[in-house]
Amino acid sequence: MDLNAMPQNQLLLQIMQLEFAAVELNLFLDTHPDCQESLAQFNQIHQQLMQCKHAYEQMCGPLINFGFSPNVGNCWRWVETPWPWEIKY
């Protein structure tokens, strides 16, 4: 699917799903550091997650503060995009 054509909310949900999978694999790998299947899955999820985050940040503004996300456009978008607890999913 073309990530740039996805509605904002759907892209955010996709990011949540991928990142949750990454968190879960991260915790599992903390105690199973040699599990090759999980290592492969982790890196695969990482790639997909970075693609989704890149598309989201181009469209909707930065996800992470302190220089880990770009600011696209000519105004500071970090403070303008909706705060997570206010979003109506």
Partner: protein, 190 residues
Amino acid sequence: MWLYEKKLQIPVRVCGPNPRLAKYVITQYGGPEGELSASLRYLNMRYSMPTNKAKGVLTDIGTEELAHMEIVATLVYKLLEGASVDQIKAADLGGHYATHGKALFWQDPNGVPWVAAYVSATGDPVADLHENLAAEQKARAVYENLIRLSDDPEVTNVLRWLREREVVHFQRFGETLMDVQEHMKQKKFY
């Protein structure tokens, strides 16, 4: 160093204003088995752990608990959003409203404020990891109590997900404990 990601870990929806449920759910924000206690307990324990694996597990679970704290805060925020003062009084939340309005506060449903004594740290890695195993079980039990109290299916879905995370964390801490015990057994003293 920590970074803030401007998103919740999972979507949080509520069916509508429900101050009574907010009053119950806030226990997982500032109650003894809540997410603040969990996060601070684990992040604080990292410094006295003997293995890199244990430091990693505590860092990562402690950080995930911060995200769960934000989920619980969002539940309370949304359950109070649009609630009238009459609804708040009827839900026996008038005492909270008098002091805090609709602000969140680190407290349990009875208004008992969060205290650092909810968190334990002995410096003994085996004792401390057992503390974490117990903490995850207690948090699971509290989520099950909340699920029984919930009359909002959207809130119940979020509570079920949070409950499931306690089970996964318990599993990871169990593996960490076995690894630490193995490490201590092998340690040579001269």
